[in-house]
C-alpha cells in the first residue's frame, strides 16, 4: 500500500523547531511517514534529502524572515532536479503579502501561527500527487 511520505525541513539559520516537530507529529498520527531533517539545512541539503527519501511532499518551516529567499530556492531546485511534482508547503512567521508571492513561486500553501493541525493534514492528503511535473 502506498504511504504518503513527507519531508519536514528547516532551511536557514533559525533554530526554532517546535512548530516543525508538532506538525511532524500530527502528520505521523495521520498515518504518514515523516522524515525530519533537523535544523539549519541549506536548500541543496533539503532537495537532496527529498530525492533520496522519494517524498510526496516537503514542508518548510522558517521563523527567521528569510523565507522569500529560501523557499523559492527550494522550489526552483526541486524543479531543476525533476521533482517539480512534489507538493511544497510552508509555515512560520510569514506576512500575507509574502505568502502571495511564495504561491507564485511554487509554494502550494502557507500556514501561519495558530493553523489547526487538521487543516495542514487535510491539505496534504488532498493535494499530494496532483501537481504536474513542470520542468523549469
Amino acid at each position: 500500500m502506498k504511504k504518503i511520505r513527507v519531508l519536514i525541513a528547516k532551511p536557514g539559520l533559525d533554530g526554532h523547531d517546535r512548530g516543525a516537530k508538532v506538525v511532524a507529529r500530527a502528520l505521523r498520527d495521520a498515518g504518514m511517514e515523516v522524515i525530519y531533517t533537523g535544523i539549519q539545512k541549506t536548500p541543496e541539503d533539503i532537495v537532496e534529502a527529498a530525492i533520496q527519501e522519494d517524498v510526496d511532499a516537503v514542508g518548510l518551516s522558517i521563523l527567521s524572515g528569510a523565507h522569500m529567499t529560501l523557499f523559492p530556492r527550494v522550489t526552483k531546485l526541486l524543479r531543476k532536479r525533476g521533482m517539480g511534482d512534489v507538493l511544497v508547503v510552508g509555515g512560520g512567521i510569514i506576512p500575507p503579502k509574502d505568502a502571495l508571492e511564495l504561491k507564485k513561486a511554487g509554494v502550494a500553501e502557507v500556514f501561519g501561527p495558530g493553523t489547526p493541525l487538521n487543516t495542514i493534514v487535510d491539505f496534504i492528503e488532498k493535494n499530494v500527487g496532483k501537481k504536474p511535473d513542470v520542468a523549469g
Partner: protein
C-alpha cells in the same frame, strides 16, 4: 528510461523510486529486483543495532565520513518504528547525519518498520540489494531501537555492530541471550557519561565466558558525538570483512542471507494471502465459530486455509 537503467547510470532518483516500490509491495519491484539481483553481492553490509538513544545514527554519521575519506561510496538505511496505531512514522535519523545528504558519494534512506518486528522492515533486505547494485562499497543498516530479542538484522548483514551506553544495567544484562550474542563489534558509546569502563569490562567478561570462535568481538568505548571513535571502529569493520573472506565464513554468511531473504519473501506472501483471507466473506463466520467456542482458533485457521486452497 526505466528505473533499473537509471540505477545503472547512478541516478539517485531512480534508486529512491525503486526502494519506494519495494516498500509499497508494488509488483514492478519484483521484476526490477530480478533484473538487478545478479549485480548484488559486492558491498560490505554492516548492521548497527542497540537500544534507542545509544547513538547509532551519530556513530553511522561519523563512520560514513571516515569511509568517504577512505574513498568508499556509502549507503545508509535507517529504520525507525512505524506506529501500530496510525501506521505513520517519524523517521528522525537524518537529524544526526549532518550534511551527508549533499555528499555525492552517500545515499541515505529512512524506512518505517511497517509492522515488522525485529528492528528492520520487510523491505530492508531488498533495499540493501538496491544500494548494493547501485555500487555502494559499504552499506550501513541502522535498526530501529532494538531490544534484547531483536537479532533479525544479523542475518541480513556481514558484520553486526552493537551500540550500548553506560547506565543501562548490571553485568547480568550482559549475560543474557539475544542481541549481544550476534555482535561482531561492541561500541560502548557516550563514554563521557562515566562508568563506560565497567560496562566494557562486563561485556569482555561475558565474551570470555563464551565459546571462543575464530573472531573475538572487540569492545570499544567511544564518544561518537565528538568524533573520537570512527577510525578505530572503521578499522575493525575492515578487519572483520578480511576475516570473513579469509576464513571462508563469507560463504556461510551468504548462504544464511539467501535463506533469510527467501524466508522473508515466503512470510510476506503468506501474510498478503492471510490479509486477503481476513477480508473475505468466510473469515467472519469462522470468527463467530471461535467466539462461540465451537472451534479452536487453530482448527478454524486450518479449515479456512483448506477452503481457500480448494477455491484456487
Amino acid at each position: 528510461m526505466s528505473l533499473v537503467e537509471g540505477l545503472r547510470n547512478g541516478d539517485k532518483r531512480a534508486v529512491a523510486k525503486l526502494i519506494s516500490l519495494i516498500e509499497d509491495g508494488d509488483a514492478a519491484a519484483t521484476a526490477a529486483i530480478r533484473e538487478i539481483y545478479s549485480m548484488t553481492g559486492k558491498a560490505h553490509v554492516v548492521g548497527v543495532s542497540g537500544p534507542p538513544g545509544t547513538g547509532k545514527s551519530t556513530l553511522i554519521f561519523r563512520l560514513a565520513q571516515e569511509f568517504r575519506k577512505r574513498g568508499k561510496k556509502v549507503g545508509i538505511i535507517a529504520v525507525d518504528p512505524t506506529s501500530p496505531i496510525s501506521g505513520g512514522a517519524l523517521l528522525g535519523d537524518r537529524v544526526r547525519m549532518g550534511d551527508l545528504a549533499s555528499d555525492e558519494g552517500v545515499f541515505i534512506r529512512s524506512m518505517g518498520t511497517r509492522g515488522r518486528l525485529g528492528g528492520v522492515s520487510a523491505a530492508t533486505s531488498d533495499a540493501i540489494n538496491v544500494l548494493d547494485a547501485y555500487g555502494s562499497d559499504i552499506i550501513f543498516v541502522e535498526t530501529a531501537g532494538a531490544g534484547q530479542t531483536d537479532v533479525e538484522v544479523s542475518d541480513l548483514v556481514h558484520t553486526t555492530v552493537v551500540v550500548v551506553m553506560p547506565g543501562v544495567g548490571d553485568e547480568v544484562q550482559a549475560l543474557k541471550a539475544g542481541l549481544f550474542e550476534v555482535a561482531h563489534i561492541f561500541v560502548v558509546n557516550k563514554a563521557d557519561l562515566g562508568d563506560a569502563d565497567r560496562v566494557a569490562s562486563d561485556l569482555s567478561i561475558m565474551l570470555e565466558l563464551g565459546e571462543q570462535g575464530d573472531w573475538t568481538p572487540p569492545v570499544l568505548t567511544a564518544v561518537a558525538l565528538r568524533g573520537e571513535a570512527e577510525k578505530e571502529v572503521a578499522d575493525f569493520l575492515e578487519e572483520h570483512l578480511t576475516h570473513l573472506r579469509e576464513s571462508g565464513r563469507m560463504e556461510e554468511k551468504k548462504r544464511r542471507r539467501a535463506e533469510k531473504e527467501l524466508m522473508i519473501a515466503i512470510s510476506e506472501s503468506v501474510l498478503e494471502r492471510s490479509l486477503a483471507l481476513s477480508s473475505g466473506r468466510s473469515f467472519m463466520s469462522f470468527v463467530d465459530e471461535v467466539l462461540e467456542k465451537r472451534m479452536s482458533p487453530r482448527e478454524a485457521a486450518i479449515r479456512l486455509l483448506e477452503e481457500s486452497h480448494s477455491g484456487d
